[in-house]
Symmetry: C2
Subunit: 154 residues, 2 copies
DNA sequence: TCCGACAATGACGCGAACGTCAACGTCAGG
DNA sequence: CCTGACGTTGACGTTCGCGTCATTGTCGGA
């Protein structure tokens, strides 16, 4: 009976996942309530396996990119139609493509937002350079830091 | 008295902005309540100028990339410290950089999510190709469509 | 003059995504 | 045996981002 903790047959308690992903037990139970997770039970206690853990990864990623739990649930649902009817699969396909398009649009938004902020940074930098050049310590770009680090003794 | 509607001195009613940006008056007033907008008044009525309009653009963009109204307000605040103390500007600079980093991280998330969805699409496509190849009409990639369009009579 | 369209404010309501608290079970260690 | 850490299930509270009235005001035509 090996106990390699990295093996896919490894299971997790609710607390372990909570710590690893920095969420609360309340959140995980809430996701379960909403049908996004359905861990096994050992008596009453929830037992999460590696697939539950993967789903959680996707859930949190989805949240970070602005999807609602309902949308995430729908997407996760789409993954388990391996068996379902063919027309179902076709529908799923369309929805997947829609999601991809939406996310790509959102990426555009983010790129625009980043550009705006960069312009703001530039403005502030030139402004500071005029008034208080001394307040620009770590204003250097990351490339310099990287080179320094790579050239250094390490 | 020219009335060129594109001139920067042009003003907008609440309704006009609502229609243009597809939001409700309630939303705009709400943003004002929260300190994200502060249009001029003509008597009681709100009068938005081109700068208010630009701010609204940023607000909606911020929302789309998942920022809360409070965060958006903070960012907008940072833009009007042209006059403020130099150390203030330095703080603003740091916050700007933080925001940029956060957005770049979010873009990573989106890229991951897109990749996941693409994998899902692939799976569904091969699956459909096996069982019901007839249900794959517009499964072609966009490149083909583009070429067709570019080659065609136009 | 009256009407309808649009404006305003204020108050209440609502769904999403949890936080929080109460009340209870279970199991290992001192 | 008792405590403390961890688990469970409700049930209620909270914040955010508005929607939805209700009420009132201000115009510009018919």
């Amino acid at each position: 009976m090996s106990m390699d903790l990295r093996r896919p047959e490894r299971t997790f308690t609710i607390r372990q996942l909570c710590i690893e992903f920095k969420v609360t037990p309340r959140a995980l139970r809430f996701y379960e309530d909403k049908g996004l997770l359905s861990p096994a039970r050992e008596g009453l206690n929830r037992v999460y396996n590696h697939r539950d853990r993967a789903r959680l990864t996707l859930i949190l990623r989805g949240k970070r990119v602005g999807l609602s739990l309902a949308e995430i649930r729908d997407i996760l649902e789409l993954y388990k139609v391996d068996d379902g009817g063919a027309t179902q699969a076709a529908k799923s396909l369309r929805k997947f493509r829609e999601r991809i398009a939406a996310l790509e649009a959102q990426r555009e938004d983010i790129d625009h937002a980043i550009q705006e902020l960069r312009k703001g940074v530039e403005r502030l930098e030139t402004q500071l350079a005029h008034t208080r050049p001394d307040l620009l310590p770590q204003a250097g770009d990351y490339d310099n830091k990287m080179r320094a680090r790579l050239d250094g003794v390490h």
